[in-house]
Every structure is written in C-alpha cells, then in structure tokens.
Symmetry: C2
C-alpha cells in the first residue's frame, strides 16, 4: 500500500443497500477527491487494518457527509467488517491482474486454472465491479467455455467458500434446473430418502423473484436458518435436513455471479453447470440427481439442449468426483395446485399424508426422482428405486420422517390459512387450454407471497379440465384487505389468466 | 403503462452523484417495495408525465427517506427533468427488446441497422444499465463487429444527438487517437488552417484522468463553454473555433459508452472508429485528418494495428460521406515540455509566437498535420501543404488568427504563473534514457492540475539529454503549499521519474 496516497476518513452509516455492490460515498470536493482526482464511478481501494476492498465511488453533493467523513454501501460494511466511527484509508487500487485475464477471455483465448481462480477470488472479495463481472459473464457465454474451463470454474467456486464433510461414504442430493411453480419435490424426496437410511443434507434457496422458494415453503413447517453445526446435528440424527443455504457459506461466488446473469438474462451453460455442481460438491455430496424440466416456459426449452446439458453435467461431475444422474422431465405446466409458501406446503402435506385428493403430478414426479436417488445405494437394483420410494411414501414412513426432521430443525407446524380470500369464477364454459403462470405468480406476489406466508393462490383447475360457467378457477388468499385489492385490480386489468377453448 | 403497477412517490433530493448511472432510492419495506417485490438492484421504470427512464434500485435502510418518498441519482434527475417535490410513478419496466439484440450479439450473430439503433437509443435514454452496456461492449470487442456493423453503430451514434451544418462545402477537422501528454497541436493547427481560409469548427474534451485536456488548455486563453449559436458566430467570423464539446450535444452516447470501456479497459477497434467518426460527422465535417501515434505507451502499440485502423477509418468514413486521411506518427515520447493547462498553454504560445526556444517537436508535429488538412483544399497541391502551413505560422498570421478566435470566443488571456514551485535536480550525471510519463502526470495532478490551471510541471530535459549532477530535471508548480507537498511526497516515495544511463 502506498502511504502518500492514503487518506483517513471517519465512517458514517447512511444505510444504503445496493445488494452485492461495494460503493464508497465521499463528499464532493473533499481534499482526498481533489488531490487524488477521484471522480464519480472511479474504483478506489478502501483499507481497514489488513483488509481492503475495491469500491465504486459515488459523490455526495449534499450535507449527508462532511469533508472528513466517508460512507459505504451495506454490502461493503459487511465485506470490510467495519463499524460506524471506524477510520478507513483510501488509495488508488493496484491494477487487477484478473482484469487482464477477463480481457484474455474477451479476445477468445482459453483460461487456465490459476487465471480462473484469480478472477473468482477477486469476485469474492469485491475487487471486481459489477461491470467487470458482466464482461466476464458475457465473454464466457455463447458456449465460449470449454470442458476444462467449466471444471476449473467449478473448482474455483467450491474453494471460495465452506466445504462440508460427512461420515457416510454415500451422501446424496437433488437439484432442479430452472424451477417450475409449485415444484416442491424436495420436501417429499428428502424424507423418503432419509427414511430409507441414506444421508441427504439438503440446502435450498428462498424466493428472489418468485412467490416462494423451497426454503420459504419449508419454513412454514420448521425453522430453516440453521448454521453448519446445527445442520450437522439434524443430519446425524435423522439422515436428512432441508435448510436455507443462505445461512451457510457454500460456493458464495455463485450468488455473486447469478445476480449479474439474471440482470443480463444470460443463461450460459458453463456458468449453470459450475453453479449447480459447485453447490453440490461444497455440500459434501458424492451422488446427485439433477432434474431438467424441458418445456417452452422452462429454463431448458428443447430436448437437444437438455441432452447436451445432461452429458456435460455428468462428465464434469465425474471429473470432480461427483456421480451425477440427470433426468429430463415434462416442464410444460406447473406442478401442484398452490402458489405461495403455505399453499405449496399444503400440497406437500397432502402428498406426504397420502390424501386421496393430493396433487398426483407432484406425487409422481417426487417418486420418480426419489427412486433415482435410492438407486445410488448398492442395495437398490436398477429399476426398483421408484417402487421402493412409493412403498416408503405409502407406508407413512416418509411423513413420519418429515415430522422428525422438522422437530430436529426446531419444531413442526401445520400450514396456516390466510385471513382473506376471493374466488375467481369462470365467465363461460369450456376446456382449460392455457394457464398463464407468469400472471398467476404476479397475482400471488401482489397478494403478499412470500413475505406473508399464507398469501398466494390455489388453482382449482388444470390444463384439460372441463369448466362450467360460474365454476371456480382459483382462489386468491391474503393477510390484508389492501393486498387482496392489489391482486384483484391487477387481475381485473390483465383479465385473462386462464384460457378456455369453448365446447360445442 | 400499467396503472395497477403505478405508485406515486414524492421526490426528495439526496445529492448523490453516480456519474452516468440512473439510480432510484426507495425506503426499505415501503408499500411499493413490498407489494411489487422490488429488491435492491432491481430495474424499475420511473415515470414522470410522458417521460420515463429505467433506473436501478438502491434501498435506503435509514431515515434518509420516508415511506412515501423516493430519490434519484443526479444523472437520473437530469435525464427525467424533475425537481424536488415532484411526484413520480413506478412500475415494472417492459422487457427491453434491445436486451435480446445484445444477447444475439453475445451469441456471435451479426446485428442489423435497426437492432443497433435500438440498442444505442436505449443507452441514450438510460434504459440499459451499466452492466447491460458492459455486456454489449464485451460482445463487440475482440474484432466481433464487421464493417457494416461499425458503420451502423456510427450512424446510430450520430442520430442520438445534435448535428451541425455549415455553409461551406469544405469543412475540415482533426482528431488524435489516444493522446500523448502535452500534445496540444489543435491550438496551433486550428489558427493555421483558419488563417488560410478553411472552415474548422473544432470541439475538444476536458481532462478526465489526465492533468489537462485540450479544452482545459484552451480555457487558459479564452472561454470554451459556448453553445451552438455562439460557436456558429465565432466560426462565421473567424473560420475556426476551439470549444468544449461537452457544452453541445454531439454523439452523446459516445460518452456513455466510453466510460464503460474505460472501466473495463477494453479498447475495441469498432467502438473507437464509431466514436471518432460519429463526433466528426455530427460536427458537420466533410474532411478530417486523424493522427494515430504509435508507440509502446500509446493507445496503438504496433504498426500492423495502426495500418488496420487507418484502413477501416478511411473505408467507413467514405461510406458515410466523410473523407478521412489517417496519419501514423511517433508516439514514443511526450510532445512539448509543460504538463498542466497553463504550462501547456505556454508551449503553444511560444510556438505561435515563433520563439527560438519553442518546443520543436510540438511545432513540427502541428505543421505536419496542418499541412495534411490544407491539402484537402482544391487549391493546395499534394506535397505543398506543410510548407504552406509553415509559411502561415512563420509569418505571424497564425498567432494573429489565434488571438482573433480567442477574442471572438470571449477574450484573450495570457497563461498565469503558479504561486509556488520546486525544482527537481539530478542526483547524478548521465544521459536521459526513460521518462515515466505516468508518474509525471500523477505529480502534475497532485500539484493541482487541471483544477488549478497554473499547476503542473515543466520538463527541462528530454530523452537523449546530457545531464550533469545538480542540473534541473523539471519544476513542479502549484497554487497552494499543501498541494506542492502532496506532489513532493509522492515524488519522494516513487523516487525515479527520469532514468539516466550513466556516462563513462
């Protein structure tokens, strides 16, 4: 660090959340800006003790800051481990060697292991800005990463965080590429597999833009914010768990890359494979089933892409010591009836309790995937996994195990019912032809999901259903009248959510 | 626009300058965030009257904002044309079709004219975020734009701003690709060419990261912030002008793209060509000379690249009706002696006034370029331009014209001398072998340039100079003791700025 370029400023908290971007706020025309020639959007090295991060400068032209004060975005406070009143130093950052590696990729060259891990390390420590990361992701997209680069990227992402280790030789897992609404198979698969006796330490995510994530739905039943120690205790006792991955730090760079991929709407196969495999390997899995739904509104749209992805997932998994079995499934319509944490939890519960009216699509899809996982065991012959899974579910052992896992995670609760509801009825008779999942998800979010756990909606029809005029199509649930009103005005304006073909 | 998704919030000014990025600030958990599911870094459509921009959301967790208030970054205030207390509406932005065009380019396809102009239009109106622009720039880098795409990009950039039109059939201009320190040829070329009688309406830029831009140096002599009407008056009266381009809106998307290219440190040939040609064509030029300095620390490092660039500049210029003559020059060392606005102005003045001690490199380089421009005239035969330029300079007509242009722009001033100075002397004898331009520029900036016009430094030696122990190498100038001290401590720490080969 260059002492002459260091300036000491006192930190003031402005409370600005920029998600995962490190921003430094300085007062306009303060001595350090003037003498160093720092201008808005400059990248500046922010030093505290032995730590440093590189942040993007925003200039405060008002009296939010004084000349000798500085502030940081919430993410930067956390990254640097500082508190209000601490004194930071500023300097011009050293040129980042990772930028030259990114340029190398932009110009179409192959990166080696060391170059990729330098880039990932700089992503992790916030030294690369969002636009640098966007450039890296763009340079890798369009099939520009080869197999060895994807493998090295996966390895680098694993090394960026914690790694779990388990006593069992066989540790299984499952993942779904590009979730369908209501596709809460994990809550059914984990208890079946754990009841059989295999180790399945499952981590899941919360909703980001959807009305519910698997972790949100599990949270209806039991606490999900367990740390590694607590997670280990649950798995040792019950063979399995379903916790929120955000509470433990597995492949943390994955989230940092995904938020930029999402903003760019770029789904690069290489990044997808590295993302999935790094999370599974860091979680200590030895064998995993990966569900690839294929359909016009799913992440993977055609069979050719799906088969290519399946092959590469299996090859790269093998190189990294993870046995991968990828399964293609029908991704043409949502699975289950509920949308929103409690309503999805209700679907899960009805399957686990073997209700006659439980959604069969959710039940069958879960059994197929659970069967494939059970076949990882030496004692389960090929072709016998699914019947075995069915037996465990039908016998009630899966539900028993699910309750035991919930209790081990901190207690079992039943899904709540929302205070307010409104049922949308059909204005005419016909056969259900198309269900607009995007609009239904939006209605569920406006009704309060996932913040209000009981909010959302429940479908009373599916594609092919014969509907009479006046028959209920779906019911919207919410915890406040205002939110119900939001959802209804959106529905009123968009009008069509379920399209019927008129019968003659 | 979707009414149900609109929320009205009152604008409060927080005074946060993010340079050219549109940011929207909302209070955490305010009703609109909750019901719309807006999270930090989401892209949100901000509506005011008939206008809308798309901004990136930052969440305020403190009491800087109340639930029914919103704020914007300074750039977004300007873009939307709002003032404190105005009421804005928010909604989810429509999916941008330009994002699918960017993806098309990412996947290696060729873009057509309409696709490129849609992207450029969305850049101009702030609908694409910085990471989208970074992705676009990355996808175009590495030679991935073909000639027709570069031409279409140039056309789209021209259409994004004002275009000037002049009465003369022949309107000339000059540009330098990748400036060398002290390379202020424009201030010598414009008066020579204007004195001869050609129309040369020159726009220049201010320093961004350097100790002085051409506009900063010209401002030592005369006002440079003229609007189009005032500029036109100067040119009609004196044939030429040298004004700051930022005050008129020529190819405004160029600046928006350049700031991201600079942050990525990506110099794509396609973007460079579009940048240069769009500015010249929008300024109404029919003929332009482009100086391409070639050297290890210049923007263009080898002759092969320089010749390729020259060819493409000339081809694409021709397709768009602009005659381009690109000249390669020696870019191995700085031109002139001063670094900083007044010190560079002093060099310019000594050349214009034909002082015997004027820097010969600046004089000769200016004459060469001015000669090439004069040859655009029918009346000047090939090979006679440079002698003619020399005649105009030697006769004093160029200096006369320069003073007249300054007066027309608002008044002629002589460069000031700084209050404080300190001379660095050589610690040993030898021959100057290397001059570290980067460190000298940093010293000039620490001494106060370009804010303090008189600050900077003046070299007393050049490469090849024979130096005795104790002989002055350069003098640092500043307006305050503190700034002189900053510059000296940096110098002390970095020690070497001028490297000598010892003589025997």
């Amino acid at each position: 660090m260059n002492k002459a370029q260091k300036y000491n400023l006192k930190l003031k908290r402005l409370g600005i959340d920029t998600y995962k971007e490190a921003i430094l706020y300085l007062k306009e025309n303060c001595p350090v800006c003037r003498s160093e020639g720092f201008v808005a959007q400059a990248r500046i090295s922010v030093n505290f003790g032995d730590q440093f991060i590189v942040a993007t400068l925003n200039i405060i032209q008002s009296d939010l800051l004084m000349d000798d004060e500085a502030s940081l975005s919430e993410y930067a406070w956390e990254l640097l481990g500082v508190k209000e009143g601490d004194t930071i130093g500023l300097s011009h950052p050293k040129p980042l060697v990772s930028l030259s590696y990114i340029r190398k990729k932009v110009y179409g060259n192959v990166l080696n292991n060391q170059e990729i891990s330098t880039i990932i390390n700089d992503v992790l420590y916030g030294r690369l800005s969002d636009i640098h990361i966007a450039s890296f992701i763009t340079a890798c997209a369009g099939g520009r990463l080869n197999i060895s680069e994807i493998r090295d990227l996966t390895k680098a992402m694993i090394s960026s965080g914690e790694c779990l280790h388990w006593h069992s030789k066989l540790v299984v897992d499952k993942h779904c590429v590009g979730g369908l609404p209501g596709n809460r198979t994990s809550l059914i698969i984990v208890p079946i597999v754990a009841a059989f006796g295999l180790t399945i330490p499952k981590t899941s995510s919360r909703a980001i833009t959807s009305p519910a994530g698997t972790a949100d739905t599990m949270e209806v039943f039991a606490p999900v914010e367990l740390n590694i120690k607590a997670m280990r205790k649950v798995v040792e006792q019950e063979n399995g768990c379903i916790i929120w991955g955000g509470a433990i730090s597995l492949s943390p760079t994955d989230d940092l890359l995904i938020r930029i991929e999402r903003a760019l709407d770029l789904d690069s196969e290489g990044q997808l494979i590295a993302s999935v495999l790094s999370k599974k390997i860091a979680a200590g899995s030895t064998h995993t089933v990966i569900d690839i739904p294929v359909g016009p509104t799913a992440k993977v749209r055609d069979l050719e892409t799906a088969n290519g992805l399946k092959k590469n997932l299996e090859i790269i998994g093998k190189e990294l010591g993870l046995t991968v079995r990828a399964l293609l499934s029908d991704g043409s319509q949502p699975i289950g009836r509920g949308i929103g944490p409690c309503l999805e939890a209700k679907d899960v519960l009805s399957v686990l309790q073997n209700h006659s009216k439980a959604p069969q699509d959710l039940r069958e899809h879960s059994l197929q995937l659970a069967g494939a996982i059970l076949e990882f065991s030496n004692t389960v012959k090929p072709g016998t996994g699914e019947p075995l899974a069915r037996e465990i579910l039908d016998s009630g052992k899966a539900f028993e195990k699910f309750q035991a896992i919930c209790l081990a995670q901190g207690g079992f609760n039943e899904p709540k019912k929302a205070r307010f509801c409104y049922t949308i009825v059909s204005g005419k008779s016909g056969v259900v032809e198309v269900i607009d999942n995007r609009r239904l998800a939006q209605i569920a979010k406006l009704a309060g999901a996932p913040h209000a756990k009981a909010a959302g909606l429940e479908l009373q029809v599916s594609i092919g259903s014969l509907v009479e005029k006046g028959q209920p199509l779906y019911t919207i649930y919410s915890e406040t009248k205002g939110e119900l009103q939001y959802a209804l005005s959106y529905k009123q304006e968009k009008k069509q959510t379920i399209y019927l073909r008129e019968t003659e």
